[in-house]
Amino acid sequence: MLSNDSVARSDSRAINLTFILIAVTVVLSLLYAIQHYAGGPIQLAVVSRVQDLALSPDNATLAAGANDGNVYLWHTQQGWERSILSKHKRSIIGVAFTPDSGTLISASRDGEIRLWDVETGNVREMIQTGTKLNDLSLADDGSVLSVVGEDNKVHIFEVASGELIQSLGPTSNTALAVALDAQGTLVAAGNGASIEIWDARTGDPLQTLTNYCEDETLETRAACEEADEDWLGHEKEVTALAFSPDGTLLASGSADTTIIFWALETGDVEWPSIGHWSTVKTMTFHPDGRSMLSGGEDNKIRNWRVPGGKSTAIFEGHLSGVNGVAFGWGPEMILSGGADGTVRVWETANQKVTFIAWTKKGLQPVWGSLLRTWMLVSGIVGLVSLLGLRRAQPWGHLLALFLYVVGPIVVLGLPLLEVFIYPLSLGEQLSIGWPLLLLLGWYGMVVYALMRQSVAVSYEAPESSTLSEQLMASQRTRKLRNAIFIIAVWFLIMVVLYSVLRRFNLDVAFMRHFFSFIMGGAWMTLRISALSIGLAVVLALLGALGRLSKNPIANGVSGFYISLIRGTPLLVQIYIWYLGLPRVNVVLPAQVAGTLALGVNYGAYMTEIFRAGIQAIGKGQYEAAEALGMSRTQLYRRIVLPQAFRIVIPPIGNQFIAMMKDSSLVSVMSIWELSYRAQKIGRQNFRSLETFMIAAAFYWLLTVIFQFLQGQLEEYMARSERR
């Protein structure tokens, strides 16, 4: 408690100093933000995402188009020496070599297609399309190239002359992918979830590949599924396309994560496949047409056997989405480029990376933008808090505290951990570590100044107020201040937890892919727990009344029930319910059996809780009710049980929380609740850790929500005790 003295003798110098300190911080933050939003000199972005990859037919040059507008070339025969072609102003979206390996074609979001001389690195020709481009495709014979862009049209150019031959479309939906067949006779482009095919020479529309029902008389998906038929085709935008070398198949990848092989002759799905765990980004056929490679946003490359559409190998290692894949110069080798800024060489036999080349190497670009945003936000929020401080408002003081305590942890803590996932050398980390430490040190000083008692007190209670007002205000502010620090501690622990989780190297794309499926189990978990706790409460109430009753039958029954159920493990009981009932020809649905097992088990434990609750009601209450002429039933219903319920609500809530997690045991009955789903999916894909992490997160979330609700209920029930 602070003394009257310290209230009265609030140190005006410390207050002014604090004010100046914050003012300086705010001004510097704003200056930094303004300078950087105006395009300041420091550019912390170091990684360039690879958007497409191409290997020249003579295997001498590997080209990677990146999102910084550069095309990175590696001369594979000269020790992977690197050169950079930088003329494009925006992100590259496609690169390709002509069959003679002499010309490199690149297309970019700036709307330009450039034809480069690979030897000299000069631009041989430049084509302006006037629209932001989405995809590029070059016919295998090098005669024509085609692009699609934001105008949703397919443009076909002659490579030799650079002249526009055809402009097809526009398609009714976004066109994200385009493909030419080997001779440049057919062109296919995505049209939302369907695919349009034209004759590339005449521009005649030939075919539309769209989703359909196996029973073609059924037109809607719902009708199709009702008739128990397969609904075939993509459900989301087509994001990658490739013709097989012999021109009989078209492979399409989609944002719905699947890959489909279409038979061009019939226009039907030849082989559907599981595809990736996230959007399919790129596909390429082997020249012999017997296998295909695909890369996806799930950071993985998959190899497909073309007859059948079965996945034969998965290549894992990219830290971010795979945007380009190519077959290497040996039969045992493939190449890939990803958004993590790397180009990787893989051995197909054991699916290991043998070589990594970086576009640029360094920290995440997130630094620059986050720091800049933080500076702007903290500048503005700091300005507001200054306003509050000047007018001696306690909220100004608290706002400033919150800003400089919680803010840095959130903004700087998370990206700092990102550093660990990129294999950087110590020097690179330190190069921006020092300014950061200085920044944090400065914030520490600000927080210290804000926390000084004389400063804090001066904002908590203006001197004009009475002593009791001052004391109340300071108590209130102290509470809020503690809350701010508690939030900071939570964030800090979560940041640490997050860093540990990153070390687990979890497959994020996989988790995202199955997230909603596992989430579906949360509802089942909640339902089973809620029904079971309902049953348990009824049983516990009866059990407790039985235990307290003088009737030997009631007493004996409930005593035996408690003894038996508490004396055997829940898992064993679940098995007995599950296996025993069918023996006496009682076949219950698994959910009912599971609910019974849990409810009966928890009922036994909760009987003791109820008994204690009822016994906690004083004798005087019984006497008062009896003296008023109430019957036994009326007495329990109106006087004893309502009071007992209020006493048992906290322990029952506790039991409910425990039950929500114990409900995972009914997964042995094949009930599709959280744990069972996690277990199933995890085993199928050899990723149990990932799926159980999701399940754990949901259990936690449910518990947190329930705890909040329980708190509200307790507060409501305690209304008669408030003084």
Binding site: Q634, S720, R723
Partner: protein
């Protein structure tokens, strides 16, 4: 002589081997106020609680407003009669025993509604009248935890009165109260007596006994030591036992 409203004959109560009440008789006429005083352990409270069967008498008969119950017969079979008898006898406890989960008003209307089947509206009207009568109209929606001891006891009296009892039993109603709160409860009891309620009061409040009661009973060792009008008992007691007790408390 009018017909007595309470008639107790040869009442005995044992707690195990302990003979707590040793065969007492009592007649109380309507409108009479009887105060029972005596040293602690004399069996005053037990006697009072036997009157409405909160303690089961071991032997004897109790008749209240022409409803007679013989303790010799199994009480189990007479449950219904006991409940009826309890409705005729309102009881006020030392520890108030208000229902803590109900507001003052809810405390009062609870029994009329559940036991007598009164409509909520009727019960509330009556309860509000009674709250006004005990001077607590402004506390109708407060929970007991927010009331002082004196206020709680006045609500408890209103609660008992709302059942429209024929007689009222007070079991040391002021013993748990702070001295300055006793007066407000005693005042209510005095008004109740002046309105003609038949009352049996166990108390240490000598002033109440002297000023309000019609008869004072000194109870000692499980029986009546002396029964007399207050001015006689307090000034000129006949028994040695009475003199001893008065010497202690006066």
């Amino acid at each position: 002589m009018t017909e007595p409203i309470i008639r107790v004959r040869d009442l005995h109560k044992y707690f195990g081997p302990l003979h707590v009440i040793q065969g007492v008789d009592l007649d109380v006429t309507p409108g009479e106020v009887v105060v029972i005083i005596g040293p602690s352990g004399a069996g005053k409270s037990t006697f009072l609680r036997c009157l409405n069967f909160l303690e089961e008498p071991s032997a004897g008969t109790i008749e209240i407003d022409k409803l007679k119950i013989d303790a010799q017969e199994p009480l189990r079979r007479q449950r219904r009669h006991i409940r009826e008898l309890r409705q005729k006898a309102g009881m006020v406890f030392q520890q108030f025993n208000l229902f803590p989960h109900m507001t003052a008003l809810e405390n009062i209307i609870e029994a009329p509604m559940t036991v007598k089947g009164l409509s909520k509206q009727r019960a509330t009207e009556k309860a509000e009248e009674l709250l006004d009568w005990v001077g607590l109209s402004d506390k109708r929606d407060e929970y007991p935890s927010r009331l002082s001891g004196g206020q709680q006891q006045r609500v408890a009296i209103a609660r008992a009165l709302c059942m429209e009892p024929k007689i009222m039993l007070f079991d040391e109603p002021t013993s748990a109260l702070d001295p300055e709160l006793i007066a407000e409860v005693v005042e209510v009891m005095e008004r109740l007596a002046s309105e003609g309620m038949t009352m049996v009061v166990v108390t240490h409040e000598i002033h109440f006994a002297r000023d309000v009661s019609d008869r004072v009973i000194l109870m000692a060792d499980g029986g009546w030591a002396e029964i007399a009008p207050p001015n006689k008992l307090f000034t000129d007691p006949e028994e040695e036992r009475t003199r001893q007790f008065l010497a202690h408390i006066l």
